[in-house]
C-alpha cells in the first residue's frame, strides 16, 4: 500500500465522519425547530386558556358602586388568585406501603375539590352552584394545559442544556400525543366556559334519557353530595339510576351513592351496569357501542376500586356499556354522531337488563362522566 492510497482512505473516513456529524447536527436542528414551534403553540394555548378563565371570572364579578380604584384592585386580586389556582399541585400519598392508599387518595381528592370550590365561592359569592362547578372544570383544564407546557418546556431546556439527542428524540416522539391532548383541552375550555355537554357527558346523558323515558324524576333523591339516585321500572325490574347531579360540571360521588344504596335499599342487587365513554382506536368509528365486564370508570381509580370492592363483597355481577370516542371528542362539545349513539345505548341497556336478569330483580345503573350541560 503506497502513501497516496493511505491518504485517500484517511480522507474518505474523515469525510464519512464529517457527513455523519453534519447529519446528526442537522437532525438535532430539525427536531429543535419543530419542538420549539410546538412549544410556542402549547404556550399560546395555555395563555389563551388563562385569559378565557380570567375573563369569565371578571364577567361574573358582582356589580358594585365602589370607586374605580377598588374595582381595579378586585380585578387584580382575581388575576392573582387564578394564577395561584392554575399553578397549584396535588401531592400523591406515599405508596411505600400501599395498604389503604385508595382511602388516602380519596381524602386528598376530596380536600382538593372542597378547597377549590370554596376558593371560587369566596371570589364569586353571588354565582350559582352550577356555574361554580363549570368554573372548577375550567380552572382544571387550564391547570392541565399549564402543566403540559411547563413540563415539556422543562424537559426541552434540559435537553438543550446537555445537548442530549436522546432526550430531544423522546420529546419529539411524544409531540403527536401531547398535541392531541392540548387540542382536546383547548376544546374543553370552550365547552366548560359555555357550560355545554362534552363527549364525556354521554354516560350521564344516557342515564338522563332513561330517567325521562321511564318517568324517574318523581323518585329522585340526592343522598350524597353532587349525586342523584332515582328509581324506575324497566321490563318489570327495579332499576336504581345513579348519576352526577347536573347541569353543573361534576362527576359526582358515585361510589358513595352505591354504598348508600347497599346500606339503605338492600344487599340483593342482581347486577351493576356502568355506562361510560371509552377511548377509541384510530381505526374505530365514534359512537360505536361495545359491552364489557367490570366497572367502567376512568380517572384516578378510587371510585372504580370502591365499587369493585362492594360488588365483590356482595357477589354482584358488573357489566359495562362503553361508547367509543377519541380523546378530543371526549373533551369537546358533544357531536351529533355521539348524541345519536346515546339512544342506541339506551336500547342496548334495555336488552342487557331483559336478558341478564329476571322480573322483580333490583339493578343499579350508573351514568359515568362529567354531567356538564345535562340535567337532572
Amino acid at each position: 500500500m503506497d502513501g497516496q492510497s493511505i491518504l485517500d482512505t484517511v480522507m474518505t473516513l474523515f469525510l464519512l465522519l464529517i457527513f455523519a456529524y453534519i447529519s446528526q447536527e442537522f437532525q438535532i436542528w430539525k427536531m429543535v425547530n419543530e419542538i420549539e414551534v410546538y412549544l410556542t403553540m402549547y404556550k399560546t394555548a395555555r395563555d389563551r386558556a388563562v385569559a378565557v378563565t380570567t375573563n369569565t371570572f371578571k364577567k361574573l364579578l358582582p356589580k358594585s358602586n365602589s370607586s374605580k380604584r377598588i374595582e381595579l384592585e378586585k380585578i387584580r386580586n382575581i388575576e392573582e388568585r387564578i394564577r395561584e389556582l392554575v399553578d397549584f399541585t396535588v401531592i400523591d400519598p406515599v405508596d411505600l406501603d400501599p395498604y389503604g392508599i385508595v382511602r388516602k387518595i380519596k381524602h386528598i381528592i376530596r380536600v382538593t375539590e372542597r378547597t377549590v370550590e370554596n376558593e371560587i365561592k369566596s371570589l364569586l359569592p353571588s354565582v350559582s352552584r352550577n356555574e361554580i362547578k363549570n368554573l372548577i372544570d375550567l380552572v382544571d383544564a387550564t391547570r392541565v394545559l399549564n402543566f403540559i407546557y411547563k413540563f415539556l418546556d422543562h424537559n426541552y431546556r434540559i435537553a438543550r442544556k446537555f445537548k442530549s439527542l436522546w432526550l430531544l428524540m423522546q420529546i419529539y416522539a411524544l409531540l403527536p400525543f401531547v398535541t392531541q391532548e392540548v387540542r382536546a383541552l383547548e376544546n374543553a375550555i370552550e365547552a366548560f366556559n359555555k357550560g355545554l355537554p362534552v363527549g364525556d357527558s354521554i354516560g350521564p346523558l344516557v342515564a338522563s334519557k332513561l330517567i325521562m323515558k321511564y318517568d324517574g324524576l318523581k323518585n329522585m333523591d340526592v343522598p350524597v353530595e353532587d349525586t342523584i339516585v332515582t328509581r324506575v321500572t324497566i321490563e318489570g325490574r327495579e332499576v336504581y339510576i345513579v348519576k352526577a347531579q347536573g347541569p353543573g360540571g361534576t362527576t359526582g360521588r358515585l361510589d358513595d351513592a352505591i354504598e348508600w344504596l347497599f346500606e339503605n335499599i338492600g344487599k340483593k342487587f342482581s347486577m351493576i351496569i356502568t355506562v361510560d365513554a371509552a377511548s377509541k382506536f384510530e381505526g374505530e368509528k365514534s359512537g360505536t357501542i361495545i359491552q364489557g365486564f367490570g366497572v367502567a370508570i376512568g380517572g384516578v381509580g378510587v371510585e372504580r376500586f370502591n365499587i369493585e370492592e362492594i360488588a365483590s363483597r356482595y357477589n354482584v355481577p358488573l357489566y359495562a356499556i362503553l361508547i367509543k370516542m377519541s380523546e378530543i371528542e371526549a373533551l369537546s362539545i358533544l357531536t351529533k354522531e355521539l348524541y345519536e349513539s346515546a339512544d342506541k345505548a339506551v336500547s342496548v341497556i334495555e336488552r342487557v337488563i331483559k336478558e341478564r336478569s329476571n322480573a322483580n330483580d333490583k339493578i343499579i345503573l350508573i351514568g359515568v362522566g362529567n354531567t356538564i350541560g345535562v340535567a337532572p
Binding site: T179, G195, L196, P197, S208, P247, L334, K336, Y339, A375
Partner: protein, 141 residues
C-alpha cells in the same frame, strides 16, 4: 385561534417558498431536457431525471399543504315537545342552556318543550388558494 389554525398559519408561510422552488425546478427540468435533445449528451438526461424527482417531492409536499382542511362547527340545540314529540333544531344556543331545560311552548300543540340535546355539527372546510397564499383574509361565515 385553535391549534389547527395555528398549524395552518405556520404551514402557510412555507407555501410561497415551495411554489417558487417547484417553478424553478420545472424550468430546470425543461432546460435539461432541451440540452439533452440538442447536445445528445447522456449527462443532461441524468440531471433532468434527478431534478424531476426533486420537483416531484416538492410538488407532493405542496399538494399536501394545499389540501389542508380546517374543521368548523355549528352548535345546535334539539328542542322537543313532551306532548306531541314535535322537534326542531335551533342554532341559538345560550350559555345557560342545558339538556332537559324547559324552553317554552310547542309551536304545534302548545305543550311543554324541553331541550332534548345539545350538540355540534361539524363541517370540514378547505381554505381557498388566495387564503393559503395570504392574499385574502379568512372570512368567518
Amino acid at each position: 385561534m385553535s391549534i389547527d389554525e395555528r398549524i395552518l398559519e405556520i404551514k402557510k408561510k412555507w407555501i410561497p417558498v415551495y411554489f417558487i422552488l417547484l417553478m424553478a425546478l420545472i424550468v430546470l427540468v425543461l432546460h435539461f431536457i432541451l440540452m439533452a435533445y440538442f447536445t445528445k449528451k447522456q449527462d443532461y438526461v441524468n440531471f433532468a431525471l434527478i431534478t424531476l424527482a426533486a420537483a416531484g417531492y416538492i410538488g407532493y409536499n405542496l399538494s399536501k399543504f394545499l389540501n389542508t382542511t380546517i374543521s368548523t362547527y355549528t352548535i345546535v340545540k334539539l328542542v322537543r315537545c313532551t306532548n306531541c314529540n314535535y322537534s326542531y333544531e335551533d342554532t341559538n344556543v345560550q350559555k345557560e342552556d342545558y339538556i332537559l331545560k324547559e324552553v317554552g311552548e310547542c309551536p304545534k300543540c302548545k305543550g311543554k318543550t324541553l331541550i332534548a340535546g345539545i350538540y355540534r355539527i361539524e363541517k370540514k372546510s378547505k381554505p381557498s388558494l388566495l387564503e393559503l397564499f395570504g392574499l385574502k383574509k379568512k372570512t368567518n361565515k
